[in-house]
Amino acid sequence: MDKKAGKKIFNGIAIGKIKFYSKKENPVSRVKVEDTDAEIARYEAAKDEAVKQLEQLYEKALVEVGEANAEIFNVHIMMLDDDDFNESVLNIISVQKVNAEYALAATGDNFAEMFANMEDEYFKARSADIRDITERVLSILCGNSESTDIGEEPVIIAAEDLAPSETVQMDKDKLLAFVTRLGSSNSHTAILARTMGIPALAGVEIDPSWDGKIGIVDGYEGICIVEPTMPVLEEYFKKKSADDEQKKLLQTLKGKENITKSGQKINLYANIGNPNDLMTVMENDAGGIGLFRSEFLYLESETYPTEEEQFQAYKKVVETMGGKKVIIRTLDIGADKQANYFGLDKEENPALGYRAIRICLTRPEVFRTQLRALFRASAYGNLAIMYPMIISVDEVRSIKEISKEVRSELAAEGVQIGDVEEGIMIETPAAAVMSDELAKLVDFFSIGTNDLTQYTLAIDRQNAKLDDFYDAHHPAVLRLIETVIKNAHKAGIWAGICGELGADTTLTKTFLKMGIDELSVSPGCILPVRKAVREAE
């Protein structure tokens, strides 16, 4: 068994025979010619033929992968029509008195290099397009017909790199996955893999000896396994059928409303902890982000992240989500999440210790920086702020005072601010009990069931010895949830759940009956929960 890691391009799981795909090389040698006009004519004819092929490819891609992806072939046609490119080829032929193949290959190398040396990732990736068009005309000049025949059986394609024209010409029904050594997530092949919905990895140390062997591509973990052992193979057959099930759900439930049979509608949002998760949020059709943990900014940094760094990160998220709601939770560090530069003391009971809003209220400079960044980003989308670990009305009053100061500070600087909802997490029994008073001060509640359960039952979930005592559906917790929802509605605000319990489909009906307004779950759980909602009365 051989296991190789790679960069995740598209998720999914594939199991099948590996086909090691290598391009037919067009070896080019420099040959002196007498009749340069004839060489130029050969080049022009080959170029015209290439344009004809590209026009056909465009038509084919249009049907198979849509206009946006097909557009690349129009771009290739325009590249082949580029004055500078063609002048360079003709110039080399007539000045050096050499064959068209050599002149073309040299020109292609030069232009590809120019793009490869550019700073921006997008423009860098365009060097692959230059190589692609160069190879196409070269094949015609050399009389090699293009062959992208991959055989009769469905296969996992392993290759150095794949040109967009190659991936489009392959028979879609026989493609299980792409694994390449080169290529980036900006490449057209990556975009095509996404459109076709097959797993793809780049940056993998591929090996020609893999050809014909059984392989597994796990696009979720970014690994590729060659000749897996029986237990691994069995494990992956299970994973694959679960994945297929999920994808089937996706097809039938995408774009559908979260509505019960009797017409009760709720919002289904996603919980994420990093902007890299945005792709899965979109793929799973979340209506918004119900919990965006801002800790990643602090944990991935060696020092306090600046206002500008935070602003850019939040802005990117709200912009990517379009007008959809993005609820960002302020710093929840402490307990099991530590960043050294905070200089927090070791505590005997970290879960009951100096964490989250308690840090923010005693270190207002850290809190203000984050709030400034959040309010600034609010002008770019639909942003809401949520404060964690609340236990009292006084805390909320202090928070609101600081938030008000920050807003007027920004307004005085002439900074634009959007309409920002401000809510709190209900994750302590104290907050649940006081929720009638708290509801008068905020715009929404989001119930954090993980901590709420742990604090209500006085059970440490990490301690396996307590498993027999632990009941995720303990009536005390459910009663608290019901109270919180009732008190929210009494004050005219909405209430949601962002803890693990929200994704528990055996409780979906119960929560609906309680009148829950929103459930925020990990992206992969959105569609199963939507199914449960739609099946409820």
């Binding site: 004055d83 490119f85 232009f111 120019m114 550019m118 921006d120 997008y122 423009f123």
Partner: protein, 85 residues
């Protein structure tokens, strides 16, 4: 010569697709049209040179039009930038 400045709003800048459309557009006119960024200049009817400028979102470019009906052409090209870039 007629010229105008434009700040790119497109997320990926002057990328392949709009660059291709721009080339098609300027080829309709006889005027010489140049796009300049940070002192580097490219003729707008040359796709690779145009992309080679590496113009990104937020970059400001100067577009100059020379010859023919330059007033009217510049207005058309400026409109094109607003709609596509």
């Amino acid at each position: 010569m007629k010229s105008f400045e434009y700040t790119i709003t497109d997320e990926v800048g002057i990328h392949a697709r709009p660059a291709g459309l721009l080339v098609k557009e300027v080829k309709k006119y006889d005027s010489v049209i140049n796009v300049t960024k940070d002192g580097k200049s490219a003729e707008a009817k040359k796709l690779m040179a145009l992309m080679g400028l590496g113009v990104k979102q937020g970059d400001t470019v100067t577009v100059s039009v020379e010859g023919g009906d330059e007033e009217a052409v510049a207005a058309k090209i400026e409109e094109f930038f607003k709609n596509n870039l």
